[in-house]
């Protein structure tokens, strides 16, 4: 698996220049062989595993997690919230996250997040807004760029665009977080739902970040 453990990520940045000429056999799209981003200050190259024989063998190849609770989810969380997939996610990281306009949010519990996540993702467990109140929401939203006006109104005009994900089609952590975001007024047009989540990411052999080994 193409995992980048954070403690070795530092050295990875050095590879950048020499790899420009590399012929990539397994590209992401016709025009995108790979992209760069940063994760907690470390430069990370996101690309697909280049071994055409590689199989995904870990728990993300499990077919039958019990339902309930791991039931399939419809394509849309909300009719006004855009569902995106991997290419759009990659472009989001390249165009929005890297420029500071956007944030990738891993909606899973922290245990999941530290084991493996998408590069550049920050962790906002779905429970935060479920348990929390308006005050918790305000603190979170302020981190995401919301401003409280003098009259107390919440101003989202500079709030960041979000791409929210969890484990995949059978996971309800990101739908729940998104519902929480909406509940406290985060603008729907600034939220994207990456439905395929970790599973789709890994099925395409894309680079992941590991903070803690299992």
């Amino acid at each position: 698996m193409k995992k980048v453990a954070l403690f070795i990520a530092l050295s990875l940045g050095l590879l950048g220049a020499s790899e420009e000429e590399e012929i990539v056999l397994v590209k992401i799209t016709k025009d995108i062989p790979y992209i760069y981003t940063t994760h907690k200050g470390h430069k990370i190259k996101i690309m697909r595993i280049q071994d055409p024989d590689h199989l995904l063998l870990d728990d993300y190849s499990k077919t039958s997690r019990p339902c309930p609770p791991f039931c399939l989810h419809p394509v849309k969380v909300d009719k006004d919230i855009q569902t995106i997939q991997t290419v759009e996610m990659i472009k989001f990281i390249r165009d929005k996250v890297n420029s500071g306009e956007g944030v990738v949010i891993d909606a899973r519990l922290k245990d999941w997040y530290v084991l493996e996540t998408i590069p550049s993702a920050i962790n906002v467990p779905f429970t935060l807004l479920q348990k929390g109140d308006k005050e918790v929401a305000r603190q979170l939203f302020e981190i995401l760029g919301m401003k409280v006006k003098e009259n107390g109104e919440w101003d989202f005009s500079n709030a960041k665009e979000l791409a929210v994900f969890c484990n995949g089609v059978w996971c309800d952590q990101s739908p729940r977080l998104i519902k929480g975001l909406i509940k406290y007024g985060y603008p729907k047009e600034k939220i994207r739902y990456y439905r395929g989540g970790m599973q789709e990411w890994k099925l395409l052999g894309l680079t992941t970040v590991v903070e803690k080994k299992k």
Binding site: I23, L25, P52, D53
Partner: protein, 546 residues
């Protein structure tokens, strides 16, 4: 070219053209049955003082008439074409029309509100007659349609009949209400029939030729129909509220209509999918045929080299009997295939070529082949040195023209399959390897025979290099040439087999003087190499995941 093959295939697999949907006319004729009963029911509702039924009656009357005329004259909006195909059916429709025109007079009087007891009597006594005539038409039309005699077809028929019965039962009740002295026979018969059919649909009935449906959604709807019917029956036993009976019978009509359509959907869907499958099958067959043609054309290239090799082996006195025999066989195969391209050959599964450009290229091959063949024939007879020299001097030209023909075929068969495109390069290279096995053997022999020694030594070196790098690319992939490394186990195993054969043979090709044993190995080995390479080509084409 393409069109010729296509029409050929369509002729063979013509069943794709059979009508896909259940005949519309059967449906409409079936509806007419129901309408005779609904109209009569409405008449007696009005007779019992339910003026509101007039609107319904008017609608049903118009509908009955429109369908009737549609059946006789055609009605594009209803999707009806004139039933001209069968005189009997048309005659039957005319009979209905005659009876209807008489029947209609009395209906119109009811609609106008100036009807007498006589009008009601007429309607009461003649509606079943009209129903019977409509039923006859249904049967005639069903016989006309070569419908599948499946249980589902029978179920459609029975469920359809229930629609009529639902109206008939309401009618029977209303007539009894109006004329309490009338006999109960009609009503009893209708009840029995509904009981029987509903039970048959729900549980299956061998006599009626219907099985219990396997579709849970139809079972569900049948259960609902049964519930409506039970309620209706209860009301009929104790007919207090006529309106309730009418309402329930209409509910049953709607329910049975829904069920009929579900049965129809299953039959129609099956037909449609079968038709689609047959079209796709034709398409696949055409593509297979094209692949076959290109493969044969590709093999011709190899044969040019193989023949020359065999002539050379004969010339150096290496097993002349066998090599002459092989040479003759290869010559005949080359000749037959070329002829087959032009005129078609059933045994080789080749249709005659129509495409102008391909034809031109064939003619160009023939130009070179004719004199070449003559010299081969002469060589077979006399082993004449001049003939051999001719083959040596002209085989590359024949190869070149044969290759042009392959390219022309490829152009004539446009491929929109990008997956095949991605693999084409690989198949091309693998296909060329077959020819190279023969070419290098030929060149080796030329060197041994001291014919243009230096030039042929150089050629041999280049052929070996090309063969080797190509084989290596096929095995390990080559990013620059966009050759993907195979992941399919069978393909890998086959290529490895070729590779180990080659490793064994290569030193012999490079060696200056050969012992008898080495010579044997070369002669046997190159044919084996050719065969295994051929297998690899076929595998590459066939595997799903390369």
């Amino acid at each position: 070219m393409k069109k010729i093959i296509l029409s050929l295939l369509f002729a063979v697999l013509g069943f794709a053209l059979t009508p896909q949907e259940l005949a519309v006319d059967v449906n409409y004729a079936g509806k007419e049955r129901m309408l005779t009963q609904k109209i009569t029911k409405d008449v007696f509702l009005i007779a019992l003082g339910e003026e509101k039924a007039k609107e319904d009656l008017q609608k049903s009357r118009n509908e009955f008439e429109r369908i009737l005329y549609g059946l006789i004259e055609g009605d594009s909006e209803l999707g009806l074409t004139k039933i001209t195909a069968n005189k009997k059916a048309l005659q039957q429709a005319e009979i209905i029309k005659k009876k209807w025109l008489e029947f209609r007079k009395h209906i119109d009087k009811v609609l106008d509100g100036d009807y007498t007891q006589e009008d009601l009597n007429y309607i009461k006594n003649h509606n079943l007659e009209l129903l019977q005539e409509a039923n006859k038409l249904v049967e005639l039309l069903v016989a006309l349609n070569p419908t599948d005699k499946t249980e589902n077809a029978q179920a459609i028929n029975l469920a359809g009949k229930c629609r009529m019965l639902s109206q008939r039962i309401a009618k029977d009740v209303l007539i009894l209400k109006k004329y309490p002295q009338e006999s109960l026979t009609d009503l009893k018969r209708t009840i029995e029939e509904l009981d029987l059919i509903l039970d048959a649909l729900e549980n299956g009935n061998r006599k009626l030729g219907v099985k219990k449906t396997s579709a849970p959604w139809i079972q569900q709807e049948l259960k609902k129909a049964r519930e409506i019917w039970a309620e209706l029956k209860k009301e009929i036993q104790n007919p207090q509220d006529v309106k309730k009976i009418v309402q329930l019978s209409d509910q049953l009509l709607a329910q049975m209509d829904k069920i009929t359509k579900m049965y129809e959907a299953i039959v129609n869907k099956g037909r449609k999918i079968r038709a689609i499958k047959s079209i796709v099958e034709m398409f696949e067959k055409e593509k297979e045929l094209q692949k076959h043609i290109i493969n044969l054309a590709g093999k011709q290239r190899m044969l040019t080299q193989k023949m020359t090799k065999e002539a050379l082996l004969t010339a150096i006195g290496y097993d002349p009997t066998s090599n002459i025999k092989l040479l003759k066989e290869d010559m005949e195969l080359f000749d037959r295939t070329l002829h087959g391209f032009l005129y078609g050959d059933k045994g080789l599964n080749l249709p005659a070529v129509e495409d102008k450009k391909v034809k031109e290229e064939i003619v160009k091959v023939v130009e070179v082949w004719k004199p070449f063949k003559k010299e081969v024939e002469n060589f077979i007879k006399t082993q004449d040195k001049n003939s051999l020299n001719y083959l040596v001097a002209n085989n590359m030209k024949l190869l070149e023209r044969s290759n042009n023909l392959v390219q022309a075929f490829k152009k004539a068969f446009p491929s929109y399959d990008f997956l095949e495109e991605a693999r084409k390069e690989i198949v091309d290279i693998a296909g060329r390897q077959r020819m190279l096995t023969q070419k290098m053997t030929k060149e080796k022999l030329l060197v041994m025979l001291d014919i243009e020694k230096e030039k042929n030594r150089q050629n041999l070196k280049e052929t070996i290099e090309l063969f080797e790098t190509s084989l290596n690319d096929l095995l390990n992939g080559n990013k620059k040439r966009k050759i993907v490394r195979p992941t399919n186990k069978k393909v890998i195993a086959q290529l490895k087999k070729v590779n180990s054969l080659w490793k064994d043979l290569k030193p012999i090709y490079l060696k200056e003087k050969l012992s008898q044993k080495e010579m044997d190995k070369l002669v046997e080995g190159n044919v084996k190499l050719l065969k295994e390479m051929d297998k690899a080509v076929l595998l590459t084409e066939r595997v799903v995941d390369y």
